[in-house]
């Protein structure tokens, strides 16, 4: 074995045994991956190229890319929703990353009631349900007319409108600002895990680094940019991937896919939708990872 050569001093049997046991312990997962992940992954790709009928058993007839043609060109909403999913998820991810880094820095120092503040900030993890948002925007709040969220947004929009017009900035700014403000509630709600990850990263920055920075006369501002940020930068990558996938999973495309399959019984089309969504997801995440890899700083 390669690895035992490097550490010839140590008893090789121990590592070999660990490897063997490790593989044994991994088998349930390997089987799971095969049956519940890779098999469906291949199957969905096959389904997307066939016309499916599941009345009695599974009957397929090859139609080539006809399903994709229908889904992307003919279907009334799917293509627009697909594009919208990604054009919304990307800015949301950026917002969530900035907010969660900011919140983690806010929670990191020593101050009174720090424990309470952390408990509060992690509460959205527990409340990670769409229920509350349904409640806030749905029947109950909308009709009572006391929708605090929308009031805040309108107020802020008026202010933004005033500012942008007064300074002669382009009108597109308004919709951008409006987007950001309108997303504040959503952003905070979806940031729990990310704050957690960043906070864990900030706590693992070794104090001696800060000591050195202080000795060299760095200001707090410089310390943040030169010490803190590079150390947590690998976590930015982790967080971006997590946030992006989390955002993509919340898309209403999923309802469309589910309805197409189980309500309309168009299994082939549903599969084609799944595959297009999956393909775009992998491409976008791949690009993001490649771009971020260049920025991330690894200490070791």
């Amino acid at each position: 074995m390669q690895t035992t050569k490097k550490k010839a001093k140590k008893p090789s049997s121990f590592y070999r045994r660990q490897d063997r046991w490790g593989l044994l312990m991994m088998t349930p997962w390997l089987i799971g991956i095969l049956i519940f992940f890779l098999k469906p992954l291949v199957e969905i790709c096959i389904y997307s190229l066939n016309d499916i009928n599941i009345e009695n058993g599974l009957q397929m007839s090859w139609v080539g890319i006809q399903n994709f043609n229908y889904v992307l060109r003919v279907h009334s909403t799917f293509y627009q929703d697909l594009i919208k999913t990604f054009t919304q998820a990307l800015p949301n991810t950026v917002l969530i990353i900035f907010f969660s880094l900011f919140a983690a820095v806010l929670l990191n120092g020593k101050f009174k009631f720090r424990g309470a503040a952390r408990v509060l900030f992690f509460l959205p993890i527990v409340m990670a349900t769409d229920l509350i948002s349904i409640e806030l925007t749905g029947v109950s709040m909308g009709e009572t007319g006391s929708n605090a969220a929308s009031e805040t947004v309108t107020g802020a929009m008026m202010l933004a409108n005033f500012l942008v017009e007064g300074m002669g900035l382009p009108m597109q700014m308004i919709s951008m600002i409006g987007n950001v403000i309108g997303n504040v509630f959503e952003t905070i709600k979806l940031s729990g895990v990310q704050i957690l990850i960043f906070l864990a990263g900030l706590q693992s920055v070794s104090p001696s680094m800060y000591e050195v920075a202080k000795m060299e006369g760095a200001t707090a501002y410089e310390t943040f940019w030169k010490v803190t940020l590079p150390t947590v930068s690998p976590l930015v990558l982790t967080n971006v991937i997590y946030t992006l996938t989390d955002n993509l999973m919340r898309t209403k495309l999923i309802d469309t896919i589910q309805d197409t399959a189980f309500a309309a019984s168009q299994y082939g089309n549903s599969a084609a939708m799944s595959v297009s969504f999956l393909f775009l997801t992998l491409v976008v995440i791949g690009i993001v990872v490649i771009l971020l890899r260049k920025v991330v700083f690894y200490n070791d």
Binding site: L23, L58, V126
Partner: protein, 345 residues
């Protein structure tokens, strides 16, 4: 301050140090401390604002739930109800068949959490310790399971469970394939294999965690004659409590809130979330169905959308209350373990 000044016994220096007298002294004092005070004031202000945004939905839900039905939607009270009433929550309680649903959901979720922790810990540990390069490459599949939205695989998985069979073995024995749909066993099976809801993420967390544990731990155990399994369960797992708590809380919350898998595979009407979703689609009929069980002096306007909304809010509150209670009990350990040892990539 003035009191301590008047006191004759108080030493003068201490007073002077606490509060500068002349304008010049103020300036000096502010230069030294001002930045710090401003920053912490800003910090508290921001934390309060964000905290309010986080708490607002829950407070709003609670306020609406305990408002008397006549008051909902009127400008009489927006936050604190003028008359407290238990009607909404009682109606929601009856409508959801709460005790039975709660017991069922708690039991299934607890089972899922235990299975997910176990499988993720074992797999994560193996990934952290395995030295062979080829096996390490398999970790790419963990990342892939995190990245691929589970709903994409919905159709094949659904069909698979509809006619469940392992390589035709079951069909050989019983003559027909098992119909696993509508059985929580589907979820248990996936959790056991570490590919359940967000299973990849838990493996990832455990792997990162175990990588941080010193290898000397196992080497020492090996020297003392501990086998692999004994080392894992007697030495490693007791040291992995922070990881277990982090994954446990996340798994509990996500399984509790999950409607996707529950709707697709289990379809059990006792599951709280599934129930809530189905109830919210057709409030009027669901309210009508329990008409006989509701006391006669209740407001009970089944067709009033405001009333429906308030009952729905009460029902949602009932669904998330167990989560809040769980969080209250475990918050200290969770915050500690998650922010100190949890997920460091």
């Amino acid at each position: 301050m003035t009191k301590s000044k008047v006191k004759k016994g108080a030493p003068k220096r201490a007073v002077a140090r606490r509060l500068p007298k002349t304008a010049n002294e103020w300036v000096v004092w502010f230069r030294r401390k001002g930045g710090h005070i401003l920053m912490s004031a800003l910090r508290y202000a921001l934390i309060l604002c964000i905290g309010f945004i986080i708490l607002m939905p829950i407070l709003k839900m609670a306020s609406q739930t305990f408002m008397s039905p006549e008051e909902v939607g009127t400008p009489v009270s927006t936050w604190v109800p003028s008359v407290f009433s238990m009607e909404h929550i009682t109606v929601a309680f009856t409508m959801m068949n709460y005790p039975a649903a709660l017991a069922y959901t708690l039991a299934t979720t607890a089972g899922q959490v235990i299975l997910q922790i176990l499988s993720a810990a074992v797999t994560g540990y193996s990934f952290a310790r395995i030295r062979s390069k080829g096996l390490q490459k398999l970790f790419a599949f963990v990342i892939l399971t995190i990245v691929v939205p589970p709903s994409v695989l919905m159709l094949p998985q659904y069909l698979f469970f509809r006619n469940f069979d392992i390589f035709g073995i079951i069909k050989l024995i019983t003559g027909d394939s098992l119909r696993l749909l509508g059985n929580p066993l589907t979820l248990y099976l996936m959790d056991l294999c570490g590919v359940g809801l967000k299973g990849g993420l838990y493996i990832f967390i455990f792997r990162q965690f175990f990588r941080g544990l010193p290898r000397e731990l196992e080497e020492a155990a090996h020297m003392d004659g501990c086998g692999f399994l004994k080392t894992l369960f007697m030495i490693i797992m007791p040291n992995a409590v922070p990881g277990i708590i982090t994954v446990g809380v996340l798994s509990f919350v996500w399984n509790w809130n999950d409607t996707y898998y529950a709707n697709l595979f289990v379809q059990n009407k006792l599951n709280l979330m599934v129930k809530l979703k189905s109830v919210s689609g057709d409030m009027e009929n669901n309210l009508w169905a329990i008409k006989s069980k509701v006391p006669g002096d209740y407001y009970f306007q089944t067709a009033n959308p405001l009333y429906q909304g308030a009952v729905l809010t009460a029902a949602s509150l009932l669904v998330i209350i167990p989560l809040i209670v769980m969080y209250m009990f475990i918050q200290k350990r969770f915050v500690e373990s998650a922010s100190n040892a949890g997920i460091v990539g």
